[in-house]
Symmetry: none
């Protein structure tokens, strides 16, 4: 099992691994510096290759970025969709679970930096914005909207507009993400601590959503 069944010569295994290494380096660099400010040479240097090598695998900066998104984010959304469909219990719990999973598996990881970046630079790169909205934002929002509809239908929640409420729910987490990936940590501000923030937010919001008891 641990003995190598891999019969390929080393350099060929290297070739297979190369795109992953480049994508990892690109993710780090994009998150650290943003899209426009990321120089492909730095991505290359981080991956330990030359500028030219990047172009063997990705046609240009834009395609590199899209590949990072596809590789890292799109996949995760599918899982969450299945989790939500399978859930059976009070809607407050479903909502809390979705939000925590979203936070823990995407927002708090380097991937969160991608979301920040899109919000920050989407205006200047319309094609990327469109791509990101279709592949990520639209599908992600849906998850929460459906959970809210379920909650209202079951009487778990007071009646709210599920689309607007989705935005209200998403906003604090997105903002926590923005702060986490922004200059804030390096400043003398009282730092935003994800644990207490999420707890306070959830407690407050789920209380605020609860159906009025007569």
């Amino acid at each position: 099992m641990q003995a190598t069944q891999d019969t390929k010569p080393r350099w060929e295994r290297r070739k297979d691994a190369r795109p992953q290494e480049l994508l990892a380096a690109a993710l780090e660099q994009f998150v650290e510096r943003g899209y426009a400010a990321t120089r492909l040479e730095d991505v290359a240097k981080r991956a330990g290759v030359s500028k030219g090598t990047l172009y063997l695998y990705f046609a240009n900066k834009e395609e590199l970025f899209k590949a990072v998104v596809r590789e890292n984010i799109v996949a995760t959304i599918g899982e969450a969709e299945q989790d939500a469909a399978a859930f059976d219990g009070p809607s407050g719990e479903l909502l809390g679970a979705l939000l925590m999973k979203w936070w823990n598996e995407i927002c708090s990881t380097p991937l969160g930096g991608i979301a920040k970046l899109m919000l920050a630079e989407g205006n200047n790169f319309p094609e990327l914005a469109e791509f990101y909205n279709e592949e990520v934002v639209a599908r992600g929002s849906n998850l929460f909207t459906r959970a809210l509809e379920r909650g209202v239908a079951r009487g778990d929640f007071r009646p709210v507009d599920p689309v607007v409420m989705t935005q209200v729910l998403i906003a604090p987490v997105m903002m926590l993400l923005m702060w986490t990936h922004s200059y804030i940590p390096t400043c003398d501000m009282p730092p935003v601590e994800p644990g207490p923030f999420m707890a306070t937010f959830l407690e407050t919001t789920l209380r605020g959503l609860k159906a009025d008891t007569p």
Copy 2:
């Protein structure tokens, strides 16, 4: 004519008048394109002057940006501090008033674009970030934290950590601001509408903050 009621020497009055136009143009351009992507040539064109003229009044791009912030945002915060100190009534109302004022007078105006920009690009320009935190973020947050402390002290609110709760309160408005100034409006997503968003958010949060009734 040459007698001056204005105590400033003449060249300084001139120096006072011209920068206003430059700052207005710079604000618009920074909001539209972000800090890094703003070309000084476009700022100059918008102000109807030459590129060189900008350098007569501002040492470089960074100083121009700082001047924009000082000119537009710092002043407004003082007012709000006074309003809050003078308020006498239920803390829920105070909080709601502060949040709405913040939204209406800053976030929803072009100035909101500056906040977005700092969040988005602060990492790449640490000196700007530090400046902005000291002059804007720190003083602004304080307002909300004190209102929360007042509410808890008066028994208007259930006991919460006022610093964390400040972050939870600020987050959705900041996020609304991000969305308002981002690519979202141009996409096929259901648009985020400030009115319903703020209403839903306030209703939900103030309910969630209310002291438990025995």
Copy 3:
């Protein structure tokens, strides 16, 4: 008259002259190296300016090239059109005059290098080819075709297809142009000498065109 009526300061006169200097440098460089092999840095160096300066006057390499063509060639064609319209005499003379003028004023000058370049590289730059055909080739060919039609109509020439004959007439001059602007002069081949070539060609062709005498 020779005292300067020009009231502009020197640098401003320089500004007006600048585009001309750049176009002259570009013409030389394009002719010497071809379109693709011309580096804008070399054009700049030849004009004694920096790379960036070129972009103050021409949006990119393609526009620079088009400007060279417009500035130098398009104008000359208009003149020839008027000359031809005004001509009154035997068609053989008209044809000879047109061919000699074409050779003397365009083909044998650096401008001939542009024609060579288009023939050589047009395939790789379709937009340039289209531009050049519309502005130069189409209008130029017309001149000869009309002169041939006139000659046949007047009985100066035996009946020939004027379009095909235009091509046959143009071909040797074009080829002389190609040779003149090609590597040939630097080789140990017997050089092609324009004077005898044109004389021999005209003599032969005009004899061949003459209407049969009964």
Copy 4:
């Protein structure tokens, strides 16, 4: 099977076979795109081998090009030299036959593209130009010059300078070749059609060459 009727050692036979495919691919690519614009990767792809393989057979791009010329053009010239020596008849016919053969067997085939390319890019690649002139241009021109000398000596042609007249004869065919392999066919110009062009050219030129009848 292993007994060889072929006297060459085995590795040399192999080395003989493979290059043919590479040369064919290189010819096509050079003709299609020119020398400088031809990427060795495309040549390799066309030949169905890897880029590295090219370097096993040809030291570099330049040697590859020379091999293409040797392989395809140099051989053909020898044949024509023999045909001309054996010809017995009126010099007009000989000249016509040589020109038509040249057109049909070289110029109108892909090989014509090589001639175009040399004329177009020779300036930028002096070593190639020298090589091409020695191997191709000099020997080719000779054929026509000798036929003209023969015609003048026999009284078939009026007295002309055979070297200059060679250039005048060659020029239209070369030009037809240039047009055939240039952007012209793709333009809205009246296309140059080889059949009528050659007929018109030959008719006109042979008439123009004919000795004056007393």
